[in-house]
């Protein structure tokens, strides 16, 4: 029996040589996937606070226009534009991506596949460092002359291409550079994830034995890498327009601004599924454990995810129905958009089928996972109205669109993250969170979330346009009903933000004196639960071997209702 040649990486304990690394090496310069995951997780959470604060400021302005906002002051139109632009960009590129893909991906992939680290640990460290740099660059854009970029996260030219139009000569370019750096970070991360999943699985782990969340992160990484190229191309052209006086997107000099929209949304639509899939994967892990049931139709979920990934490359022009594209083209994109709701709906049904007949425990992670299904459904269904070009002509760029994508992104980025975080917290930190506080936080957050965005569906249908700092200027938008709904949304936003203090309190208190967690507190099957809580550097003394799939719960004829992947029989 030949042993396979393996790489010995620097930074890993080589035999007969073991020293306790310094704080700096251990936490800031580490190549350990778990440390890098924590770096991404906490940076992402910090950015969520920044993005959340921004939303607080502009929602206050929307509810009570022209009044001084506590902790900020008067919101000028320029500041308003800067706040909404950076809120959107931060939440997608600096919260959803780093937390769902990079943090959970880094933490879970090696642990769930039964290996000691990523295959390229140094690339992994570099990935986080570039990500951190992108954060610094983004923040620096807020302090340059003219302030941060305010041309919306979609950066449509000519507004974004000419300092004379957007009044942020430096901010416009720094913003794009920050986004570009973030892409480089995820490119490096994605290469690692896919290679690790294909090459470093535990012996015995066949493709269909891979836990769903790992598959989802891998598919999302591939989608990200296949879609980001055209946007990077567009970003380079936009930076050239801004700084070197080219005219790629300038219609007055023969350029084509619609071209940008194609390049952006060719990336932008797959991107929404890039963040969706990891969240869907997290939910699969949580509901199988807390329903004690096998995942219904594992292979169907997997192939559905792949089909969604492929289809998502064919729907992008539904963002451009009224941008002057050919109506025949609009028809085609209507059809593809309605098609893509089928696999998404199917996944939701599969999850409901998984729950059916299970013995369900309503623990905090389970509540989050169930609420993901409920709220995401609203988001998906409203997407169908927007996908039909006929109704979209009316709804485009109203608060209906905004409510639609918050009913998709919020379940993904916030609910999905909380589901994963509360589920793996005992593994990550070796202690349990407080369940009561967890449930209080859950109910406050989920009720407030619906309170924010349900009213906005209504204002949207009433014709409320997005990206207007002060509705009083438009008499038809300035009536008691719409103003009242805006105020309701803002009040719930404040409640939602305040509720997060419960979460942070819970985390801090539990870290210090939470109940100690054993290896496998949820009686779960997957490999990460066979490592110590928290897992040491290198994860296991002896790496596990896999004998079966990850979802063998409630198998008849066994005394236990679970059957870990690493148990021979």
């Amino acid at each position: 029996m030949a042993t396979r040649p393996v790489e010995i990486r620097e930074g890993h304990d080589t035999p007969g040589h073991h020293e306790e690394p310094s704080f700096f090496v251990k936490y800031l310069w580490s190549t350990d996937h778990k440390v890098i995951a924590m770096q991404y997780l906490f940076t992402g959470m910090f950015m969520a606070l920044v993005g959340g604060f921004f939303s607080y400021v502009f929602r206050m302005q929307l509810a009570w226009p022209g009044e001084s906002v506590p902790l900020w002051g008067l919101v000028t139109p320029a500041a308003y534009n800067m706040l909404i632009t950076n809120h959107g960009a931060i939440m997608i590129f600096w919260v959803a991506m780093p937390v769902l893909i990079a943090a959970f991906g880094n933490y879970l992939i090696p642990l769930m596949l039964g290996c000691d680290d990523m295959v390229f640990p140094k690339l992994n460290r570099l990935s986080y460092q570039i990500f951190l740099l992108s954060v610094v660059v983004l923040f620096s854009s807020f302090f340059v002359t003219g302030g941060g970029f305010g041309g919306a996260w979609t950066m449509y030219p000519p507004l974004s291409g000419e300092a004379a139009y957007n009044n942020t000569p430096a901010g416009q370019t720094i913003f794009i550079v920050a986004v570009a750096l973030e892409f480089v970070a995820f490119l490096l991360g994605g290469i690692n994830f896919v290679t690790t999943a294909m090459n470093s699985r535990a012996p015995g782990m066949k493709l269909y034995d891979i836990p769903m969340v790992v598959w989802m992160i891998v598919i999302a990484s591939i989608m990200f890498m296949a879609s980001v190229g055209p946007l990077v191309a567009g970003a380079v052209m936009l930076i050239f327009d801004q700084t070197l006086n080219t005219a790629f997107f300038d219609p007055t000099r023969g350029g084509d601004p619609i071209l940008w929209q194609h390049l952006f949304w060719f990336f932008g639509h797959p991107e929404v599924y890039v963040v969706l899939l990891p969240a869907v994967g997290i939910v699969a892990e949580v509901i199988t454990v807390f329903a004690r049931k096998k995942l219904f139709a594992y292979k169907t979920v997997l192939y559905t995810a792949i089909a969604t990934g492929v289809l998502s490359f064919t729907v992008w022009a539904h963002h451009q129905f009224i941008a002057g594209i050919d109506p025949r083209m609009a028809n085609i994109f209507t059809v593809t958009t309605l098609l893509i709701s089928i696999p998404i709906a199917e996944m939701m049904f599969v999850y409901i089928a998984t729950l059916y007949g299970g013995s369900i425990t309503f623990s905090t992670p389970m509540l989050w996972a169930l609420s993901f299904i409920a709220t995401f459904l609203v988001g998906g269904v409203t997407g169908i109205f927007l996908g039909a070009s006929g109704s979209d002509i009316y709804l485009h760029d109203t608060y209906f669109v905004l409510a639609h994508f918050h009913y998709t992104f919020y379940p993904i980025a916030i609910i999905g993250t909380f589901a994963g975080f509360t589920f793996w917290f005992p593994k990550m930190f070796g202690r349990h969170l407080n369940e009561t506080l967890g449930k209080i936080h859950f109910w406050l957050t989920i009720i407030a979330f619906n309170g924010i965005f349900l009213p906005l569906f209504v204002t949207g249908v009433l014709g409320d346009n997005r990206r207007i700092p002060n509705h009083q200027v438009y008499p038809e938008l300035d009536n008691p009903l719409m103003n009242g709904l805006r105020e309701v949304a803002t009040v719930f936003l404040v409640v939602m933000l305040l509720a997060q203090f419960v979460f942070f309190y819970n985390v801090v208190v539990s870290l210090v004196r939470g109940k100690k967690a054993e290896k496998n507190p949820w009686k779960s099957n997957t490999l990460e639960w066979t490592a110590d809580s928290p897992p040491p550097h290198g994860n296991w003394k002896e790496l596990p071997t896999v004998y079966r799939g990850p979802y063998e719960y409630g198998v008849p004829g066994r005394s236990e209702d679970y059957w870990p992947q690493n148990v021979p029989n």
Binding site: R4, E7, L543
Partner: protein
Amino acid sequence: MSVHTLPHPRHGVRTGRSAVMPNGVFGMLIFVVAEVMLFAGFVSAFTIMRRSALVWPPPGQPRLPVEETAFNTAILVASGVAMLLAGRAFRRHAPSASRPLVAAIGLGATFVVLQGREWWMLIGGGLTLTSSALGAFFYLIVGLHGLHVIAALGFLVYAWRRLARGFLPPGVMGAAEVLWLFVVAVWPFLYWRIYL
């Protein structure tokens, strides 16, 4: 990353699964997917612009040197062939890959120099980044490819030096092959879309 073919202190006990292909090759292949899409983005943008232009090529702009560049293309393709030979030689008897590797590097460097000369002449003839859409796209796309060639050449030199010092891991050699063949293969396509 130092790589040895010693059994890993922990992995050593294991048998069973072995990797589909070396990590380096696999990682580079994924990177190349992203690169293909990057070039596809640029080229489709260029194609859209060119189709929607009323007159093409833009008047008063120098003609792109189709014949000279055909020659440059041949040189780059030859360098790709040399790389293929180097790869085959490497798998038969590693040190014998040194010669074809040097040939690949030399031909690649010649390509860069000749393309640089071409740019020099075109700029002199009035084709600049801001003179027309043709100029803008030409320098953008061809320049991006040029940067790729230079970066990939750096990687080849690194591989060659490790080979000369006695040990080049198969993963690194494989990654160098994948990267170089990508850079070579994308060029005839760019030549066809941009020059012709």
